[in-house]
């Protein structure tokens, strides 16, 4: 038995925190609706995130229809097109990806994986979800106000975002967007404090930090980052709300709109961009780190092999988290900030490629001499590596300041960030749902539907976004609803755009198979048993499946080993659960 924990550690240190009495629900309402059980809250978060994500999916179809077949759909005016792309972007990044990874997977997996009965502040945890739901409802409301939602791009750049030339700029659209973001951040902070404190204080006996599954490391680090990054967005939203409603000029210089002198003056539009990207770049890793963690666990479990280089993986997660706070201005190389910043931010940005590359190496080296089961979760995890490597490498184009200059603001950027933070994390989400669905419901998702869903999604998504890079290489700018009739753009680009649209529609409809599977398997899925993947981590060792309130029955589990004891030489089975005291450990210490 190799223990990768550095230095000598008592196999089972004493409990740091005494057991506390859980809140016990008294009625159906407090058990399933206003629940304080992290597992119920997780499902509420996930359901809400997926529901609003479907809205974003439909918006993406509408924008792709416009790009693929410009002029065919009369109702897609330029204003409507800009509203679609803005809402699609904001929903996907904040209300789907962030909420699903942290609110959904974080809530479900953290207490179970670290051996806690629940989050440490269950009541605040419940509030977190209800505020998130309110934020989503406010966002949805903006579709129904006069003028519609804001159409200034998901980056919300002032001054245009609050002026009349932008859809929703002078209406309620932008106000509702800002209020919704403010609510989201308040709700997230409540949840985020919970995840951090639970990981630090709520671990069971023996669960040292360096024995935690990488899923927990990923979610934990991402949450710490989010708690530090979201305040920048929060103040930016408040300041912009003041500019819009009270006539302050935080982000508004003296300007002339449509021939009319406005009363603003002295503010800085670039200040907003700094605040936005100080949040916005860590946000990329807030989505990516949980995905990194989850994919590590999926690969290790389904390859029946310990994750390669666990310590390096943990340090890479922490290093990426820290570095991601000093790279934000690589989104602003052509923003008009001082050009000398380019030297600094290009250097930091390319340095972050190193810990990221280490993670990729360790994933593929985990496959080496493994015993690879190509289950549906494993297929999604491996497909993630392909799309993540692809999207990460095009990041080296855009991060390297001078290479970014011709590519910035083109479709190349759109292709890059969809590959790396759209397709890649969503493939992990799918993999994770196929992996943990048996624990959540007690039944397996249907394999045939899973295969169909996987192949269309993986190949289709690659067919959408790989060619899109070349549209950008030609020079096609992003955020143009119609590029036909532009001299430097050959006619063949329109053909390619139509192809991408068809691929996008097919991939979109394939997701209906997945949704159907979620409901169908709830009733007709094969019974899973407690540990269908024969995995080591604690959530698979619960006495009941799905786990009951309190997770672990009378006694909390005691942890004796790290999360990756697969195929240990001399062990009877090809896995040793973290709470398994026997096996080679006993033999070695004897």
């Amino acid at each position: 038995m190799v223990d990768v924990t550095p230095g000598a550690v008592a196999p089972v240190p004493p409990a740091e925190v005494p057991e506390v009495e859980l809140y016990h629900p008294h009625s159906w309402w407090t058990k399933y609706v206003f629940s304080q059980d992290a597992k119920v809250i997780a499902i509420q978060y996930s359901g809400t995130a997926i529901a609003i994500g479907l809205v974003a999916l439909v918006l993406s179809w509408l924008m792709r229809l416009q790009l693929g077949f410009p002029g065919t759909f009369d109702f897609i005016t330029p204003e409507a097109y800009y509203q679609f792309i803005t809402m699609h972007g904001m929903i996907m990044v904040i209300y789907l990806l962030t909420a699903l990874f942290l609110g959904g997977f974080g809530n479900y997996l953290i207490p179970l994986m670290v051996g806690a009965r629940d989050m440490v502040f269950p009541y605040v945890n419940m509030l977190s979800y209800w505020i998130y739901l309110l934020a989503v409802l406010v966002l949805v409301a903006s579709f129904f106000v006069p003028g519609g939602p804001t159409g200034g791009g998901w980056t919300l750049y002032p001054p245009q975002i609050i002026l009349s030339g932008t859809p929703g700029g002078q209406g309620a659209g932008i106000i509702l967007m800002l209020v919704s973001l403010i609510l989201f951040i308040i709700g997230f902070t409540m949840g985020g404090l919970n995840y951090v404190v639970t990981v630090l204080q709520g671990r069971t006996r023996g669960m040292t930090l360096m024995r935690m599954p990488l899923t927990v490391w990923g979610i934990f680090t991402a949450t710490v980052m989010a708690l530090l990054a979201f305040p920048a967005l929060f103040v930016a939203c408040v300041m912009m709300l003041f500019d819009r409603l009270l006539g302050t000029s935080f982000f508004m210089p003296a300007l002339v709109e449509m021939g009319e002198q406005l009363s603003y003056g002295g503010g800085s539009p670039i200040l907003f961009q700094h605040l936005f990207w100080f949040f916005g770049h860590p946000e990329v890793y807030i989505v990516a780190l949980p995905a990194f963690g989850i994919v590590s666990d999926l690969i290790s479990t389904h390859a029946r092999k310990n994750i390669f280089g666990y310590r390096m993986m943990v340090w890479a997660i922490v290093a990426i988290g820290a570095l991601s706070f000093i790279v934000w201005a690589h989104h602003m190389y052509v923003s008009g900030m001082h050009p000398y910043f380019g030297f600094f931010f290009a250097t930091t940005t390319l340095i972050i490629a190193i810990p990221t590359a280490i993670k990729v190496y360790n994933w593929v080296l985990t496959l080496w001499r493994g015993d690879i089961h190509l289950t549906i979760p494993m297929l999604f995890a491996l497909a993630f590596i392909v799309t993540f490597v692809n999207g990460g490498l095009t990041g080296l184009f855009l991060g390297n300041v001078v290479v970014d200059v011709p590519l910035s603001d083109t479709m190349f950027v759109v292709a890059h960030f969809h590959m790396v933070m759209g397709v890649a994390p969503i493939l992990v989400i799918f993999g994770a749902i196929y992996h943990w669905y048996p624990k959540i419901t007690g039944r397996m998702l249907d394999e045939t539907m899973g295969q169909l869903h996987f192949w269309i999604t993986f190949i289709g998504a690659y067919a959408i976004f790989f060619p899109m890079h070349y549209v950008g290489l030609v020079g096609v700018p992003r955020r143009y609803p119609d590029i036909s009739g532009t001299a430097f753009i050959p006619e063949s680009v329109s053909t390619l755009n139509a192809f991408i649209t068809v691929a996008a529609l097919i991939v979109g409809f394939a997701q209906m198979v997945f949704l159907f599977n979620l409901f169908w398997s709830l009733r007709f899925g094969r019974e899973a048993g407690g540990n269908p993947w024969r995995a080591t981590t604690l959530e698979w060792q619960t006495p009941e499946t799905p786990p009951a309130h309190g997770n672990f029955g009378k006694e909390l589990p005691i942890v004796y080993r790290w999360a990756y004891d697969y195929s240990v030489p001399g062990a009877k089975e090809d896995f040793l659960a973290q709470n398994d005291p026997g096996g080679p450990r006993a033999a070695a210490s004897a």
Binding site: Q160, L255, M258, I270, P406, F488, L496, P569
Partner: protein, 287 residues
């Protein structure tokens, strides 16, 4: 098996797509061939890494697929291998970064002899101002903008009197002369983007940004706005013509200076159509 094959096909397909793709950047029309050069280096290095990683994965998925009786190795760490991979990555990253920063230095440093040309953007059109005989642009302020003075040129500044004003019309530039494009916006963010020049930069109301380039071939090039600027963003187009020295001189001779435009307006000789055109939009009110 099928999946390993699919991974190989992803690599082969991507490489073939790259080689056979008719979609490639426009023929360059400026001095920034170095930018294209760094881009090509980046394609080679990243392409090689992508193929290596995915093909290695494909091999593993095929070679170590589950068969009855198989057992995985137990190997938590391999420090030597991990360090070698880290160092190799650092070398690759340096090979990308160093040439990139070298070219960026050139991009930032404007040559002494570059002629200044001002681009003034507004929703949704392009205007230009060229220095007159004195070679200097006069000062400007968006508070001075009015229908009579659409670019906000300071009438008190003698340097501005001979500035050539090009309003909502094509810009002409002479070939082989470095130009420093001074970028100004009077309302929202815009971005002056000509794909063939490679260089681009945002225009920010309240400040003046810049980039420089040297046009290297004559022709007509389309200007696009590359920073979302409201519902007319997709229609914010313009034309830059790169002329020979003689053609440029001929064009410049036809343009009006700020002083000429102001004088015409004071004596009321400007016909009404031009006044309408000079207004930047309906409902224009001077302060």
């Amino acid at each position: 098996m099928v999946f390993a094959l699919a991974l190989v096909l992803v690599v082969v397909g991507s490489v073939l797509f790259h080689i056979l793709s008719p979609w490639w950047w426009t023929q360059i029309a400026s001095n920034w061939t170095y930018i294209d050069g760094t881009l090509v280096i980046t394609f080679w290095i990243t392409g090689a890494v992508f193929a290596a990683v995915v093909l290695f994965m494909a091999y593993c998925v095929w070679k170590f697929r589950h068969r009855p009786g198989n057992k995985a190795d137990y190997e938590p760490e391999n420090k030597r291998l991990e360090w070698w991979l880290t160092i190799a990555t650092a070398v690759g990253v340096t090979a990308l970064l160093v040439p990139g920063l070298f070219v960026w230095k050139q991009f930032v440093d404007v040559p002494e002899d570059a002629v200044e040309v001002e681009v003034v953007a507004q929703q949704w059109q392009w205007n230009y101002r060229l220095p007159g005989a004195d070679g200097k642009l006069g000062t400007s302020d968006s508070r001075l903008i009015s229908p009579e003075n659409p670019l906000g040129v300071n009438p008190e500044d003698p340097a501005g009197q001979d500035d050539v004003i090009v309003e909502a019309d094509d810009l002409h530039l002479p070939i082989d002369k470095p130009v420093k494009m001074l970028l100004r916006s009077i309302d929202v963010l815009h971005n002056f983007y000509v794909p063939e020049f490679r260089a681009k930069m945002d225009m920010v109301p309240g400040s003046v940004t810049y980039f420089w380039f040297t046009p290297t071939r004559t022709g007509t090039f389309e200007v696009l706005c590359a920073e979302l600027c409201g519902s007319g963003h997709g229609f914010m187009r313009g034309i830059v013509m790169i002329d020979t020295e003689e053609d440029y001189a001929a064009w410049l001779g036809e343009q009006q200076t700020f002083a000429e435009i102001s004088a015409e307006q004071q004596t009321g000789q400007l016909d009404t159509d031009d006044v309408e055109a000079a207004k930047s939009g309906p409902g224009g009110v001077a302060n």
